[in-house]
Symmetry: C2
Subunit: 419 residues, 2 copies
């Protein structure tokens, strides 16, 4: 039986997910591995029929994103299949950082603790679960790095083949960490836009390949909601007052907002306003530029920044990001590569967390928004740190290192430390 | 008031820890920042007066090693001080790996999920808590890398100064990850033995410096027990049948054993036998050599292996490791650097976990012990994966990489994959 035939005969169990709905005009269609509405050509999003949910059921669940399975498009037995069990990362109260930035309270959500050390493990786990249900056999993606790591690892763990496409110029750590899991890693002679276009073509050709961020994107992207779910649960089941989210395609920001809303809808938290702030690198800041110019659409740019995991010049969810940020009374700002490096160092020095460049963008943008009076210093702020500094060592290597190289004597050590 | 004076006047609260006891002859002395008995010159270890403990109290505790604070030498309010909150890492059932190795059931404890991606975050967190109680002001260590990362990060988060001494030849990732937290990182012109000796001298000179693995070592090393506690809790409050532990100084292996025993003593688990296996790299295998030769003492060696985090030529706890392995009916084996690389790749390919060289040692040793019939294939086995592959990329970089570099066309991709 072909995959397509299997899809039409098998009953799809994706939990409380009931259909797909187009983001622009709300056209509804059955759950399927499709990502664009043929009615209005807007992205498709998963719609649910949620039962009333209880905090104690979630708290009694697994220590992974699967504790929130009732809020995700995954089968009810999802945790029984081998997967990387991502999520339940630390939310730390960052008083040192708050003091350095002159605000009352900051929380840092540290997604470097995920299995491959970025938030991508969340979205890939959800994509894999949905892809399994749809009968796909190969997990695939175009990626700038973190997604490649997460897809290759998740496929290995699940016993699936993987096809991972990356620009050949990718950082060494991300290349090696994608290769080690022994799937089919291909370096593509082109930039990320080329790789992305290639993936879309391949998804059309290979009916058993699930490109997590292409043909199963509606399911994949729902995984980002778990950041909101965890933040709220870790705060004692409440929605934070302000949150700063990095923007690449913009998907994460829209899903964090959706996640907070769904917690309210299902009765898990008391609904309360959250101001959502977006962070970009100046070298790839199309959404920030549109926000500042008061535009509703985003003009694509050619990326040039050390924050490569955010370097998407034509962000698919840009317009939705602008809408959410405006209606929640947030703001979007961008920071230079030097500020990104300073952001990485500030977070490391104050809280002992070594973030990748995207985390530097988030911290530096928060600093800029605080200084501009846009983030309220008396309200609490959550910063999403989505990836790990070990993957972007090149970005900081010229700025950090040992204080000194010394002979192995106490005199030499004391002299080096000025003691 | 000097630190020494403060130590004598202040009541020390280290929870249920009551005194230090010498490992050889059991001489007892008050809790203090000391590490060698002046009675018999053997290492000092923490002794406790445990109350009866209840599983439900632990299960209701924080999602970090502090859930086990009643079993650690830390103050009862330990989690209220800023710390990195390590622990509660994944224990995954590794059926793909078990199949590859021809055994019934393997569990992998994945400590790459810790804040700085190694088990050292556990021991450093306990050392910091005890050091704070003793009135120290600076957190310090000699290190081959993982400990440097953990100390620098923990000190930053706690708002302490740090002094971290590393051999100048250390891997780039470990140097940069130690430097980014902005403590005093010093590269020492010498090998690890030189650095270690230097640390002992400095600990004598600077009374407010807590060298985590020197003058507060008895507290520090207790942190490794949390690996045993978590494994047992994650298995549903029971002790595994077999466990493979990498050996550097040997401390971790002895503390894992102590941890399992304490769970039995406090009524948290039903006592049951565990066979403890030790893993070394052949290029630094003094304990394995002693084991195979039937010796009780360990002859120091000059290390020469890619598994640098295990490269301690004169392992302090070697004799205790031999004793424990023999009395639990375990074994110790060592593996070549090529086998280490194969071990890293096997774990990545089967379970999606990218371990550092020490993890490769553990996996490859398990394989060798299984093939030799020493590990029982019908009993379950836990493998401790203590550190992260991103920190030892050099070890595998010549062996892994993209399958191919291709033009951005579907034809090129299909051709590269033989489709």
């Amino acid at each position: 039986m072909t995959v397509a035939a299997q899809r039409t005969t098998k009953t799809i169990d994706l939990g409380n997910a009931v259909e797909l709905v187009s983001k622009e005009e709300g056209h509804r269609q059955p759950l399927a591995p499709e990502f664009v509405s043929l009615e209005d050509f807007s992205p498709l999003e998963v719609a649910y029929d949620f039962p009333k949910l209880r905090r104690e059921d979630i708290e009694a669940g697994p220590r992974s994103i699967w504790r929130y399975k009732q809020l995700l498009p995954v089968p009810s037995n999802v945790e029984e299949h081998p997967n990387t069990d991502p999520g339940c990362t630390r939310l730390i109260r960052a008083d040192n950082l708050a003091k350095a930035l002159g605000v009352k309270r900051i929380w840092v959500k540290d997604d470097t603790g995920n299995p491959t050390h970025s938030f991508k493990d969340r979205v890939v786990a959800v994509a894999l679960a949905a892809a399994r249900e749809f009968g796909f056999k190969v997990l695939a993606c175009p990626s700038t790095g973190n997604l490649a790591n997460a897809v290759a690892a998740a496929a290995a763990r699940a016993g699936w083949d993987s096809v991972v496409l990356v620009p050949k110029s990718l950082e060494r750590a991300k290349i090696l960490m994608s290769a080690v899991y022994d799937g089919s890693l291909l370096a593509v002679d082109g930039n990320y836009d080329d790789v992305n276009r290639l993936a879309t073509e391949l998804a059309g050709e290979h009916e058993d390949w699930a490109f997590v961020n292409v043909n199963v994107r509606p399911y994949y992207s729902e995984g980002s909601k778990t950041l909101a779910f965890e933040v709220a649960e870790q705060l004692g089941w409440r929605i934070p007052e302000q949150i700063v989210v990095p923007i690449a395609s913009g998907s994460q920001l829209t899903k964090v907002y959706k996640g907070f809303n769904e917690l309210g809808e299902t009765g898990l938290v008391e609904p309360s306003p959250v101001r959502i702030f977006g962070a970009q690198a100046t070298g790839c800041s199309p959404v920030s530029t549109a926000f500042k110019n008061g535009h509703d659409v985003v003009q694509p740019v050619r990326p040039d920044t050390i924050a490569r995991s955010l370097a998407i010049g034509a962000p698919a969810d840009g317009p939705y990001v602008l809408d959410i940020v405006r209606k929640t009374n947030g703001a979007i700002e961008d920071v230079t590569d030097d500020e990104v490096r300073e952001g990485i160092k500030l977070l490391a020095k104050t809280e002992g967390i070594f973030a990748e460049t995207a985390g530097g963008v988030t911290v530096a943008t928060a600093k800029k928004l605080i200084e501009a009076g846009k983030i309220d210093p008396d309200a609490e702020t959550v910063l999403l740190i989505t990836g790990d500094g070990l993957k972007t060592l090149d970005a900081v290597q010229d700025q950090i290192g040992p204080k000194a190289t010394v002979a192995p004597t106490t005199e030499a050590v004391n002299a080096a430390l000025g003691l």
